[in-house]
């Protein structure tokens, strides 16, 4: 796992966006304004460092809504602790992306 001190501002923004309920790549792009070429590789690294976890949506839910299933991401306990440390390091983080916890279902319709 990457130590807290090594988290870049971009990675911290993505963690904050996840914590705020933006749980898939495109919604994080929309929220942070970062391009896909930045967001997805950053999420790969965060997942590799076990700060976030990914999980495929159930096929039945996607079929019911006539869309392909999505891959959702969520913070791990380590990721949450890292985010707390990052908020102290980047005080504007919460102002950029206010936390408003959503359920996965709500996030999916977001």
């Amino acid at each position: 796992m990457v130590s807290e001190a090594k988290l870049s501002h971009t990675a911290a923004m993505i963690l904050q966006a996840l914590d705020a309920g933006f749980v898939y790549g495109f919604s994080i792009m929309e929220m942070t304004g970062l391009p896909s070429g930045t967001v997805y590789p950053a999420m790969r690294r965060l997942e590799r460092d076990e700060l976030i976890l990914s999980k495929w949506e159930k096929q039945s839910i996607a079929d019911a809504e006539l869309r392909p299933p999505r891959k959702y991401y969520k913070l791990t306990p380590a990721g949450r602790a890292t985010l707390q440390a990052s908020r102290r390091r980047y005080p504007l983080l919460e102002r950029l992306i206010p936390s408003e916890p959503l359920t996965v279902e709500e996030a999916g319709s977001r």
Binding site: Y24, P41, R44, K71
Partner: protein, 497 residues
């Protein structure tokens, strides 16, 4: 949007994802592609939900898909390592030295391929008889001289020379006499040489003992010619060959690379002086006696005749000393460049600092070693580049090529020194990485109230460089600001440090 156009865009986007997927390792490809396709579906729903044509939406979707390449590259482990390595190398001292090594290899490679350099190297590489000079006209670029001049010199007494030889190079086919009926062989360079040429040059030719036949001139073959045209036949000596319309008897084979004068020659046809005088120009080689060797210390000498009033007509190139890329000429250009440097740029390395420097003695030595390495690499780069320039068009040494070499040595080394100093001034004293991200600070109209200029930062988080745009009495040269540990968080994830 027209359905066909929409399908075309959709196909293009899918194609982009498909191409990017090839960069992803096989084990993860299916999952990766599934996620991107699902995301693309949602992006399309979000950006272009209606049937109307929206180029802006399609452009955004295409950009979204292009991001897949970066994601795929990230997942590819070797590529990721390569990307990390490139990020680490960017702007570093190692990158600078690698670039210089590349330039050195390129300039050396070009110089090695240059026919002029190869020819001149041959002149000097295997010196057999000290005191040889190659004579050329002083007032033109021609390398060859009228054979009548050779006969005049040969038959005259000289103060500084004790022998002259002549050879002329022509393209002719050489074949055995009994092959007369067959198709002619490909032409080779054949030198029609004066009989004293090999003695004057001191070349170790083992002449074969052949049946005396004074009516036929002798021909000496080069080893490569003997191998290619006669299959290295050990019984070649004494056979009669035909050179064009003339007949000659093979007298011997010259050792590989023994020939060290201009012209890649396959065979030497030894002829009497009377036969040489009736044909075209050739090369004249002279040998200095002891008095001449004492007088001739420079690579090039002027040759005057007693009855000349209008200055020397010939130059003599000392085969002993003179060579392409002569070090004397090269160092002269280098010396001029070093002397001229302060006239075109500041020679300061700009190591002033605003706060106490964090560099140890070892770091300072490392910094100076790097600077010395740059200069040390510049010298051979400039040397080989001057050869490239001087011998780019001329296949033979001349005054012109010497002049080009000296001038180019001066210009190239001056440019190189200027670059080395300017590059060094913009390298972080701590990590030797080039500072980046220039930012204009301050207003020129407030020069007397606050500094204005350019601020650059070390991506390792060690220093900030302040360069004043207008030197003042209180801020006349660039200064380094050493950053303390409170800045470090800004540089995590930069890939350097």
């Amino acid at each position: 949007m027209k359905p066909s156009l929409k399908q075309a865009f959709a196909a293009m986007d899918a194609g982009l994802l498909g191409c990017a997927a090839w960069l992803v390792p096989c084990s993860r490809r299916a999952d990766w592609l599934r996620e991107w396709r699902a995301e693309l579906w949602h992006v399309r729903q979000e950006r272009a939900p209606m049937e109307q044509l929206s180029w802006q939406a399609e452009r955004e979707i295409a950009f979204f898909c292009l991001g897949a390449f970066q994601d795929a590259t990230c997942l590819s482990e070797p590529r990721w390592k390569l990307a990390t390595l490139l990020t680490t190398l960017r702007g570093s001292a190692a990158q600078c030295l690698l670039m210089l090594f590349g330039l050195l290899a390129a300039s050396y490679g070009i110089a090695s391929l240059s026919s002029g350099v190869r020819a001149e190297r041959m002149i000097t590489s295997r010196l057999q008889n000290p005191g040889l000079i190659l004579i050329q006209y002083a007032d033109c670029d021609s390398t060859t001289i009228d054979p009548k001049q050779y006969l005049v010199w040969k038959n005259r007494r000289h103060s500084f020379f004790d022998g002259f030889a002549f050879y002329r190079v022509t393209d002719e086919s050489v074949q055995e006499e009994n092959e007369t009926g067959s198709a002619p062989r490909a032409p080779w360079k054949v030198a029609q040489a004066s009989s004293n040429l090999f003695v004057l040059l001191g070349l170790p030719v083992r002449f074969a003992t052949v049946e005396a036949d004074s009516a036929l001139p002798q021909i000496i073959l080069s080893k490569s010619f003997w191998k290619i045209e006669f299959g290295a036949d050990p019984h070649i000596a004494g056979r009669v060959v035909r050179i064009g319309q003339r007949r000659a008897r093979v007298a011997g084979v010259l050792a590989e690379d023994a020939w060290n004068l201009p012209g890649k020659i396959g065979a030497w046809l030894v002829q009497p002086d009377s036969a040489l005088a009736v044909s075209g120009n050739g090369f004249i080689v002279a040998h200095l006696n002891s008095a001449g060797r004492e007088k001739m210390w420079a690579p090039v000498m002027q040759i005057s005749e007693y009855d000349e009033d209008e200055g020397p007509r010939f130059f003599g190139y000392n085969v002993d000393q003179w060579q392409p890329g002569s070090w004397g000429i090269f160092w002269l250009g280098i010396a001029f460049a070093v002397i001229s440097l302060p006239a075109i740029t500041s020679v300061s390395l700009g190591e002033y600092s605003m706060n106490p420097p964090r560099t140890s003695l070892g770091r300072r030595l490392y910094r100076w070693s790097f600077f010395s390495a740059k200069i040390a690499l510049l010298l051979p780069i400039v040397y080989f580049s001057t050869l490239d320039l001087a011998y780019f068009r001329t296949a033979q040494s001349s005054q012109v090529s010497s002049s080009i070499q000296m001038i180019s040595a001066f210009v190239l080394f001056l440019i190189g020194l200027r670059w080395a100093l300017s590059d060094h001034r913009q390298r972080c004293p701590v990590c030797l990485r080039r500072v980046e991200h220039p930012v204009e600070v301050g207003l020129a109209s407030r020069t007397f109230l606050a500094w204005n200029g350019t601020e650059m930062m070390c991506m390792g988080g060690h220093t900030l460089l302040h360069i004043p745009s207008l030197p003042t009495s209180w801020f006349d040269a660039q200064r380094w600001l050493y950053l303390d540990s409170s800045w470090e968080f800004l540089f995590v994830g930069s890939g350097v440090g």
